[in-house]
Amino acid sequence: MAPKQANKQAATPAEKKELTPYDIVTMSRDKNRPTAVRYINGIVEGFIELKGDRGFADDAAIVGGIGRICGMPVTVIGIEKGVDTADKIKHNFGGAAPEGYRKALRLMKQAEKFHRPVLNFVDTSGAACGIGAEERGEAEAIAVNLREMAGLKTPILSIFIGEGGSGGALGLAVADEVWMTETSTYSVISPEGCASILYKDASKVREAAAALKLTAPDLLAKHAVERVIEENGFSEEYFAGLKKDVYEFFSAKKAEPTDSLVKKRYERFRAF
């Protein structure tokens, strides 16, 4: 990231305390935030992108492939919003279609076969919304991911790096642990959607953002996430630190018997 953008994100702990939930929502959508591809480049060595769901198409909203983290082979999948206008259009602004979720599942099943851990980066305002997505079974695609990820016999870590919008985010987040960066969000509905449905008033978006309890501390308290990652202005050190944390997590999880791993994952979600 360019230094001026990095500075913009760097808030001192005192400043962070002053941030309202809606400020966090705004930051989670900031166009200068690093997107999934930046994370993949930042922590994965020798990334090889793998494409397509083998049924319909390749969905560019989800980028997936294989590579190494500190030498360990991994499968990496990310919801990519795109960085400039043309890129955003190409990636459908991070709104994944059914074929995107199916590609992700294909890659996760492949990871299971070859005993590779799965690392997912989540950044989406929600799954694709449109005629095509409905015709091709968006609901079914997400549902199958939830069921299959719950039983996947290899470690899964999902990291929220921006927006965590509803079922579209959860479709890549049935994991052994869920981490989020400190100005990311995770919510059942957008504050805008909540305001217009519940308050019948789209301008009450700030109230909605607060009521939804979508920030990292709230989610940590609810055990919806296990770890909050300090962003440190998204510096090179930030990516190096994250890489080390992910490697250590996977090393520990790989040592666990698969049955116990899957059982714990079931119990993690069973507790809600």
Binding site: E134, E140, L146, A150, G151, G167, S187, V188, K222, F272
Partner: protein, 290 residues
């Protein structure tokens, strides 16, 4: 007697006879409409005739919404349905603005304390675990209690090796419960997964409407997906899609027949045929005389 007592006596008196209130005489008197207009063919229908026809229009076959309990009782042999997990209710600890009032209203309108009814009964002599979501409870919104009851019925069915029949209906997640409501999608789907891994049958019946977090979790995970005629089924609701895409949606979009054509529904079954069709399918999966 004070003024308040008089008021209470007038407005909150117990019904004198069965005509005034429920058969048990304890429910408050609610005036029932004698006639209703069919949403589809606009014919004027006698309420009692509609009720006797499982809320299907005798003129055009339009399927009105039907209560969850009514549905399950109609499915069970001799109407013998045993409810389970009725003590699981929404957590009141969350202080989302207006949620408590919303729950009160839903409870008054539906006569149920939560949005899903789960339990067991026999279908053509075969023990089956079942659930149905009630439209009168915040249009089947899924919060903790709905997700928990459905998870428990799948776990119970896995333990006892019962098939599951589930009638889904929902406008989406219960946003008043925040992230907990979203997590119900993962929790229920994981429980369906264990039932599935045990080699057991789950028939999912999609009813009008099945959308949002319910369609994107247990509703679309059936071994066999059944839908009622003309039911609206999708991930995003049609209004949201129109607003987002600024496109006019084609006629029949997201209806059961459309989903069947696109490959997402196995069969469309009229409500009057539901018990016999589900019974046939279940019997095929329970060994029989082979």
């Amino acid at each position: 007697m004070g003024f308040e007592d008089t008021i209470r006596k007038i407005f909150f008196r117990k019904p004198k006879n069965a005509l005034e209130g429920g058969a048990d005489g304890n429910k408050p008197a609610v005036p029932e409409k004698v006639s209703v207009r069919c949403d589809k063919c606009r014919a004027i229908l006698i309420s009692s005739e509609l009720d006797n026809n499982m809320k299907v229009c005798p003129k055009c076959g339009y399927h009105f919404k039907i209560g969850a309990r009514e549905r399950l009782i109609a499915l069970c042999d001799d109407g013998e349905f045993t409810e389970m997990f009725a003590d699981v209710v929404a957590e009141s600890g969350d202080d989302f603005p207006g949620y408590a009032q919303k729950l009160d209203k839903a409870r008054a309108e539906s006569g149920e304390i939560e949005g899903v009814i789960a339990g067991v009964g026999k279908i053509n002599g075969i023990y089956t675990a079942m659930f149905a979501i009630d439209y009168r409870f915040i249009m089947g919104s899924m919060g903790y209690a709905v997700g928990e009851r459905i998870t428990r019925i799948f776990e119970y069915a896995t333990l006892h090796r019962y098939p599951v029949v589930g009638f889904s209906l929902s406008g989406g997640a219960r946003m008043q419960e925040g992230i907990t409501s979203l997590m119900q999608m993962a929790k229920t789907s994981a429980a369906v997964g264990r039932h599935n891994d045990a080699g057991l049958l789950y028939i999912s019946v999609l009813t009008n409407p099945t959308t949002g977090g319910v369609s994107a979790s247990f509703a679309f995970l059936g071994d066999i997906i059944v839908a009622e005629p003309d039911a609206l089924i999708g991930f995003a609701g049609p209004r949201v899609i129109e607003q987002t895409t600024r496109q006019k949606l084609p006629a029949g979009f997201q209806r059961a027949e459309f989903l069947q054509q696109k490959g997402y529904v196995d069969l469309i079954v009229k409500r009057g045929d539901m018990k016999s069709k589900l019974g046939e399918i279940i019997a095929l999966h329970t060994g029989g005389n082979d």
